[in-house]
Symmetry: C2
């Protein structure tokens, strides 16, 4: 596990204050789980239980599907996987001595009709499972596939503990409020209100995007305002391949104030006195800057990908351009500069500044770099293919060969030294297919493919804010793939500020051609951009997993036909 | 469109028999649609309407989501796409003059709560939309994502036509019967029975796998037996990238006999007299041979992929091995031998028979082939990397370089000549990761990655059944990747009959290690195989789309974490 459990970040209630009130003390355990690592996840939770006890907590709350990790995906189709989840819950129940535990896990549907599983919150007390509440709203959109595996809850019961009635809910169960077009016909907490609960506890695994923290607070507040009850909301942190969880667990007072917004990007166990929470009047909302959030999310995404896979070192190609420069910095921040290895692969079309800028960056970072010119290999390919290409003019084929030689050299280094190749494609390129399959699209993880080119510039400025890491020339020169003499991105593509604005409307906002043209964009440019996006689906299908930081990333959350005629 | 509309396959009711009974005549229109091609789909349906009229039909039934094609996936999130679907329905309604039409399309949910769309069957008569019945059971498993987009029907109403009450249903609506563990808590036709329908009409887009035709008949019969009503079941044919529809539309008499099973793998419009259907006693069930079905499905899959993308010619590497040989034959059958181009790329590790066997196959097929030895390029890579690899022994890196040179040469040919590279990896290799990313995993379409190695042999024998196409030596020699001297697949992997049996239990049957070991397999072999499968998820994530012929194919129907600890 890449992120260490951090006891130093724990908020310990001073001893003198323990047991002063009859009000419940509730610990929120915001942890980083690993899908399928039952032993690891349980061990980590048992440490957190001990911690919560030391903090004087009566109850400790873990996130959604904490035993098996989230998202478990089709592992849920294996009975063996379910049995292991059940054993994990029993181990947690054993630990529920002198403290009650709420933990998310899978449970079986005893009714033969319907899906075989529920996504459940277990209430554990004195060694036993005291109560189980299933999730009712099963997100099945974007990156979510929950109805694929789970039956929705049809029963809603509060659980009593220390004289209080707790309304248990799971993630999406809260999300049918606060928006004009609710996705579901049921509001689970409405169903519980006749039982007069005293507080709401929500177990979440709510994936990050740069807008999500704000939406989350909006939705949680909508719930608090509707019911007038305090809200204990526990989220995961950590990255699961492409999906990143930001933490930021929240305690809200009945007056709608954020009593606490827990740290982002780190594990934390923290205990709150319900009496204090009830009082309200304290607003601890944290600032949220889009580019800072993206930066931190990408660093965590890289760190967890490597940590959970058991790799230490990254390799990447440095072109002298801004995308690879930003990825190199993020990788160094995630893994340490000693664990980033760079390859500079100039060709006959590379400008002098490319190698210089790339070298300068590697030196600034303190990362190991090698220079491997690709011309000799390129020439050998040309010789080999010459008899077969007779009469055919040079075209994109030769550009792709260069990109693929670079991909192959990087993969050879990756194979030989046991490191992982980071892909440096940005979202604008990935959208319109401005990249070579098996060439610059190679890599184990795509760091920037959910960050538009214009946002990559913002990230570069953010990185340089306290001193120059990325060479200025890298930021100021016009973008170029340097695959033929004097090539510029703008030869083939609209300027990035225009292109990105169009892509945002199409990808994030799901606007069609008419709607986008009506916003004032040039019709031919819009139609060409949308066509390029749809025709590039085959490339994205074979691309590396993309760290998701936007509300609509390429990958599992965006599912489009490869062979389709719509706008293509 | 690759498959031509075939009027010669139409069953025309002889003129003398027209209008002899007061019973309804119903045409089943089993067509090949193209996702997002509204104009093309409507034009094709209008031709079929004319045909049905000529056949004397009172009613013509088209499949599920015929206007927009199936599966439309996230195109459904675009209002523009929905508007086009709506316009397509209106055009079909205009054509409903002198004949009624049932067609599948999208409709909007007027209620703000719940998903915004329904998957609907439109009953069109005299220029108008007379009735709309929504789908209630939304498959959300394997390749299906319907709850991602659709709200389930809550109202069930029969539609009256020519004095008969028709129970309209859509695909999965029938599938909650006939199995011991039903996925849903509702049986839609049960809800309609109080209205006393006279017949059941089902609009389907039911993807092929080699077991599916049998399951389908089982399920349809279970419905007919429960209700004692005739069943008109209309399926699509055609391939949508990875998902293949086989046709085989069915008419079942109330006595449970298959009155007609329409052709597989071709478009067809055929009219039936309901009176005759009611009589029963006629069983026209077609034979179903697993390997023949797989063969035909793969041929259709290749043909439609190329036809719908607008490509004519395929390229592939011929190694002399069985996988590439089978793919070459299937491609020649799908596209014509003039449209298959082969590349033979021997290295210093290739045996003489490899080139000979490959050449023999190309000659047998009449396909163009070129020989491009890879050693000169390989040597240049070695020279280039030598200073960086000092002190590191030769390992899989050098094997991967060979595989990647081949991938690059194929892609260069593909780019230069505008053809599409067919990938030749089989399911056994794809499962355990016995293949090189960006090397032999390259390609636009993966033809055999849902066919286990043992099944590839069966396909080869099937292909050779009327005369040798694939050289005998290709079939009889031991499989080898030929990436180092005297290499055999069996050096690294269990024998394929054992490996495939274990993989089948794990992948198709979702059995865990304990269950598989309990079947009598060696524990270490099982654990190693399962570990290899789970650790190769990153390779499959970047693989080409796989033509789906089994009940559990790699790709969109099998969703597993890339970074996961379970059995890895």
């Amino acid at each position: 596990m890449a992120l260490k459990f951090r006891p130093q970040s724990l908020f310990v209630i001073p001893e003198g204050e323990l047991n002063h009130s009859s009000f419940m003390k509730i610990a929120l355990a915001q942890l980083n789980f690993f899908v399928g690592d039952f032993d690891g996840n349980v061990s980590k939770m048992l440490l957190a239980v001990d911690d919560a006890k030391r903090q004087g907590a009566d109850l400790v709350v873990f996130p959604e599907l904490a035993t098996c990790g989230y998202p478990p995906r089709d592992f849920l189709e294996f009975d063996d996987f379910i049995r292991r989840s059940e054993r994990a819950v029993l181990k947690m129940a054993e630990a529920a001595q002198g403290i009650a535990i709420v933990v998310g896990s899978v449970s079986r549907n005893p009714v033969v009709e319907g899906k075989d599983l529920f996504n459940s919150a277990y209430f554990l007390e004195e060694g036993n499972i005291k109560h189980v509440q299933h999730k009712a709203l099963l997100p099945t959109y974007d990156v979510f596939d929950e109805y694929r595996h789970f039956e929705p809850a049809k029963e809603f019961k509060v659980v009593e503990f220390q004289g209080k009635k707790i309304a248990l809910s799971i993630c999406e169960d809260l999300w049918n409020l606060g928006n004009e077009n609710p996705l579901y016909t049921v509001v689970p907490l409405d169903e519980m209100m006749p039982q007069k609960p005293d507080l709401i506890v929500n177990l979440s695994a709510s994936p990050f995007n740069y807008e999500h923290a704000k939406s989350r607070i909006h939705v949680l507040r909508a719930n608090v305002q509707r019911y007038g009850l305090p809200m204990i909301y526990v989220n995961q942190i950590g990255s699961q391949t492409d999906i990143i969880f930001d933490g930021g667990s929240i305690v809200i007072s009945p007056d709608g104030n954020i009593f606490e917004e827990m740290p982002y990007w780190e594990e934390c166990v923290k205990t709150f006195d319900l009496q204090e929470v009830m009082k309200g009047g304290r607003n601890m909302e944290q600032p949220k800057d889009k580019i800072a959030l993206i930066h931190d999310a990408l660093v965590l995404g890289i760190r967890d990908y490597f940590g959970k896979l058991g790799f230490k070192q990254a390799i990447l190609g440095l072109s002298g351009g801004i995308d690879s420069a930003v990825v190199a910095v993020l990788a160094a921040r995630a893994l340490g500069e000693d664990n980033v290895r760079a390859l500079l692969m100039p060709s006959q079309f590379s400008s002098d500044h490319s190698v210089n800028d790339a070298r300068k960056l590697a030196v600034n970072l303190g990362a190991q770099y090698d220079i491997v010119p690709i011309e000799p290999i390129f020439t050998k390919y040309e010789e080999t293919l010459k008899p077969h290409f007779l009469g055919y003019p040079n075209n994109v084929t030769e550009e792709n060969i260069q990109a693929r030689i670079r991909g192959m050299l990087l993969m050879a280094m990756s194979n030989k030294f046991g490191n992982v190749l980071l892909n440096t494609t940005n979202k604008s390129e990935m959208a319109v297919g401005y990249g070579t399959l098996y060439g610059d699209l190679c890599g184990g993880l795509s760091v920037l493919a959910d960050v538009y080119k214009t946002e990559v510039y913002q990230l570069a400025h953010f990185i340089n804010k306290d001193g120059i890491v990325i060479p200025e020339n890298t930021i100021t020169k016009p973008p170029s793939a340097e695959l033929r003499p004097d090539q510029k991105d703008s030869d083939s593509l609209p300027e990035y500020d225009i292109l990105d604005a169009i892509l945002y409307q199409y990808i994030e906002q799901r606007q069609g051609p008419h709607e986008i043209i009506a916003l004032g964009f040039d019709e031919a440019t819009v139609r060409r951009a949308l066509r390029l996006v749809n025709m590039s689906e085959f490339k994205r299908h074979q691309a590396a997993p993309v760290l998701r930081v936007s509300p609509k990333a390429f990958g599992v959350g965006r599912r489009l036909p490869i062979v389709g005629k719509y706008l293509s």
